[in-house]
């Protein structure tokens, strides 16, 4: 008999079609045509393929502006952010970098100024860790109809893989801090059109910095620094310089525009705080949250909590506008400097109320209210490192609305 394979069948008498989207720069991808069969058990399905695609019924997207795009936190589950939905913040777009000609230069106060190819970097001992990355400008308020994505969608989480920067420091012979004990710094510089540059204390490089080339199993995505980025666990996202082309070791900070004009915040007494690297602990309820509408009865309140200073130890939820707080469940494993999924069961009786969450990290830091932050820093502070408790109003008809904060 003639050999009838699945593919010949599908190519011939098949009732379900397969579209293969083919372009000159991507390989073919499987896409099922969403013509809904009356009964999927009576039609052959789409055969296996090289690369899958989302269900055409799913419309989960980032919210993009000219300078950033925000992760749809309210649509996500668990803790991993799909790589193509990782938030973006770049200062002049995503460059196209050829991995075959890519080079990382390390120079300055080192024994052996060295150029590494991508293949060189991949030969070194590697490390992987699941950790969040948050832009320190990740705060918005102002209206009731704002989703978690709009309020704080500039945070995402991936499993990052790369070589420890300390390994490269040893390889090039980074010289110890200056004779007078002044701490050393290094400059991290990107190969994008902004030639992004940040000064980082050497200490962080020795501690846990990663020269990352992979994200969630695969190569970094272009928007996250392909082929190579710096990854500084727990630190404000801008310091994890993408499209990394150069590290210079020195004995003082460079005072780049991104650590003076930007990524600094006014504090009391007319002072401006600089080199505020740690991401302060934060949490947000992602369900229920605008724009969902809920029904009376049991509701599992869900959200994310994280701290740039270490592990989350406690998340509390209030369902009575902050009067009483109850301990939420934390999904294990709770990882260092990582988004943690928290959950809390609540029986809603239909009365108007406000729900909110607050996190405490292992250093004893507890997420403050908006008023506490303004009180501590003064009304002149900007939007950097602004991590207040987010409250959601539950209306009697089940609508869930952001409770806007009065900025000034």
């Amino acid at each position: 008999p003639p050999k009838l394979t699945r593919r010949t069948l599908l190519g011939g008498a098949a009732t379900v079609a397969v579209a293969v989207v083919q372009t000159s720069w991507t390989k073919g991808v499987q896409i099922g045509i969403p013509e809904q069969p009356d009964d999927p058990t009576r039609r052959m399905g789409i055969p296996p393929g090289e690369v899958g695609t989302r269900s055409p019924f799913e419309k989960v997207v980032r919210k993009a502006s000219d300078i950033s795009s925000r992760t749809p936190l309210q649509d996500l589950h668990g803790t991993i952010t799909p790589s193509d939905l990782h938030f973006e913040r770049h200062h002049n777009g995503v460059p196209a970098i050829n991995p075959a000609t890519y080079e990382l230069l390390i120079h300055g106060q080192v024994e052996r100024p060295t150029v590494f190819s991508l293949a060189d970097l991949k030969r070194f001992p590697s490390v992987s860790r699941i950790a969040f990355l948050e832009c320190s400008g990740n705060f918005r308020t102002g209206k009731e109809t704002m989703s978690p994505q709009e309020i704080c969608g500039l945070t995402s989480q991936s499993e990052w893989t790369g070589v420890r920067l300390s390994t490269l420091f040893r390889e090039v012979g980074v010289k110890p801090d200056s004779a007078d004990g002044r701490p050393g710094w290094f400059l991290a510089e990107g190969g994008d059109a902004a030639v992004m540059s940040r000064s980082i204390p050497l200490r962080k490089g020795w501690d846990d910095a990663i020269i990352a080339y992979a994200q969630n199993g695969e190569a970094l995505r272009p928007e996250q620094g392909y082929p190579v980025r710096l990854f500084l666990p727990g630190w404000e996202g801008n310091t994890s310089v993408k499209w990394l082309r150069r590290l210079e070791i020195g004995d003082q900070p460079w005072q780049t525009r991104e650590e003076t004009s930007k990524y600094t915040e006014g504090i009391k007494g007319g002072k401006i705080r600089q080199f505020s690297f740690d991401i302060d602990a934060r949490s947000i309820i992602t369900f229920p949250a605008y724009p969902v509408q809920v029904e009376r009865g049991w509701i599992e309140i869900r959200g994310l909590a994280w701290s740039g200073r270490g592990k989350v130890v406690l998340v509390e939820v209030s369902t009575d506008a902050g009067k009483r707080w109850q301990r939420a469940d934390l999904q294990e494993p709770v990882l260092d400097k990582a988004h943690v999924r928290f959950r809390h069961l609540w029986q809603w009786n239909g009365a108007e109320t406000e729900i909110m969450s607050r996190v405490t990290d292992e250093t004893g830091y507890t997420q403050p209210t908006f008023a506490q932050l303004i009180d501590a820093r003064g009304a002149d502070t900007g939007g950097y490192h602004f991590n207040p408790i987010t409250a959601w109003q539950i209306k009697p008809d089940g609508r869930v609305l952001n409770r806007p904060e009065n900025w000034r």
Binding site: H107, A193, G270, Q274
Partner: protein, 165 residues
């Protein structure tokens, strides 16, 4: 029981020595003490000409604000606070040179000559009343310019714990 741990080598031998040419091609940073500043010079007058043609579309006439923000101190609108710009917020003059050279003009970054960058820096510093508009700006002068905001800058001193300030 295995070759790593204490026998982890200090060097693996991967990568190639960087030549001086490779380094100087991309070693573009400029520090507050002037390290990294190139040869060349420029005046505010020359800077103004360049600014009008290459910068004002985004930053406004005289750098006083456009779609991409002001660069020069201006009187705030009544009841508003002044915008954070070079003259009232930037702690070091070197950053003006460094940033313009690496990133501006936005649609053609890296297109300016060093002399043009000196001129634009001179123009923006004098428009902000940070240097005399007649001064020829070069690698010697730039690090000597004092910025009023410098004394306001403090490093983050929070070390975890309940401190939220």
């Amino acid at each position: 029981p295995h070759a790593v741990g204490d026998t982890l080598p200090n060097r693996f031998g991967f990568g190639k020595p960087a030549t001086a040419a490779q380094i100087s091609r991309i070693d573009i940073d400029v520090r507050p003490d002037g390290v990294g500043l190139p040869a060349g010079s420029g005046t505010a007058a020359k800077g103004q000409v360049i600014f009008v043609s290459k910068c004002a579309a985004c930053h406004g006439v005289g750098g006083t604000g456009g779609a991409q923000g002001a660069l020069v101190v201006t009187a705030p609108a009544p009841g508003k606070r002044p915008a954070n710009v070079i003259g009232n917020y930037w702690p070091y003059a070197s950053t003006v040179f460094d940033y313009i050279r690496r990133a501006m003009p936005f649609a053609e970054p890296g297109s300016l000559t060093n002399n043009e960058v000196y001129a634009l820096t001179a123009y923006l510093l004098s428009a902000n009343n940070l240097m005399d508009e007649k001064t020829v700006l070069d690698a010697k002068i730039l690090p000597t310019i004092q910025m009023p905001a410098q004394k306001r800058f403090v490093p983050d001193d929070r070390r975890g714990g309940p401190d939220i300030h």
